[in-house]
Symmetry: C2
């Protein structure tokens, strides 16, 4: 699944460049995945290619939209308009992916003065906005201490998917989808790998 997203990302870029067809090998190189793996993944979803000319880019993309059940754009919200919340609100790449940030929220009323395309509301208006825009997925970008409280609140308003940038594990029921993005971990994993290659085969 992570791979399907990678494929789609690359394909959208290729499409923007006007590329019409790709080979499993090419797409693999773009995404850091082996050609065989690419083909296997496609065959999993019954996606057929042309046995000499590779796969059609537009066909692949539309197949992937199907996989995602993604009909048009998705409305999501961001809770916490601090540094991370703001950078997400201004992130260009979401447009291409049809991710539509309809609103952000912050407990601090002064944040409402922020000038931006994406509005900043106080926490009180969360339920209203979620209902109005049919939001199912939310991003938590608040400090550690507040994350669980915000999470509970969101679930109360019917949210069932959360991307959590706070470095805490949120307690939620089984049926809620949580994706924890821990920026420290992302960096440390690289630091670790680098140190490994430098201290090659330590006894």
């Amino acid at each position: 699944m992570r791979r399907i997203l990678l494929y789609r990302g690359s394909l959208l870029q290729l499409q923007a460049l006007g590329v019409k067809r790709v080979y499993s090998y090419t797409l693999g190189k773009e995404t850091g995945i082996s050609a065989q793996q690419v083909r296997k993944d496609f065959s999993e979803y019954k996606i057929k290619g042309n046995q000499r000319g590779g796969y059609r880019v537009d066909e692949l993309i539309s197949e992937m939209e199907n996989i995602f059940y993604k009909k048009g754009s998705q409305n999501i919200i961001i809770v916490g308009r601090g540094n991370i919340g703001s950078s997400l609100a201004n992130y260009d790449n979401f447009i291409q992916r049809q991710i539509n940030i309809v609103a952000t929220f912050d407990i601090d009323p002064s944040k409402q003065r922020i000038r931006s395309e994406i509005p900043v509301y106080t926490m009180e208006r969360m339920e209203e906005i979620i209902d109005r825009f049919g939001v199912r997925t939310a991003i938590i970008a608040v400090p550690d201490m507040a994350a669980q409280k915000v999470c509970d609140q969101l679930l109360g308003y019917g949210i069932n998917g959360i991307i959590n940038f706070a470095p805490v594990i949120l307690k939620v029921s089984e049926d809620i989808i949580i994706n924890n993005v821990n920026l420290s971990d992302e960096i440390e994993s690289v630091i670790y790998c680098v140190s490994l290659t430098e201290n090659e085969c330590p006894e």
Copy 2:
């Protein structure tokens, strides 16, 4: 490996709360990993616990520092002082993890006027700073189009680990460690899972 990072994150939090011992079960619950898996991971690294009293938190943390070859803090830099670059520069959690951002760089000289703990330099001073602080790992937080160029530049200055926030796959030699963090993917994977549970068992 991802799990070791999760354990360490939880353990650091527990330590900050004054907790002295943990059970495999407890730590598993914190990190969303099964207790057996936790024990298996620890036994992999020859980490011993007490068969009734669980594991000592401080011992676990120091064992993990060993696993990471992490002696003291790591100096890293951020290239690109836009939204993402800035939020990373201001991210509190790095201190606890001993990740030390020594400098940020931006092509736009006006960014140097940013008031912050972490200095903003022009691209020209990159090599100098990398040398002075012994930096091995860098974060790329520049727009798509600039990412590959910045990457090549960094590698030229001896960087061998990169965390890339630009939604492109960077072309680098085998021995360079790259971690691509694609925020759109993180969000879309949740959107996908949510839609899956809603359209339960589609024929």
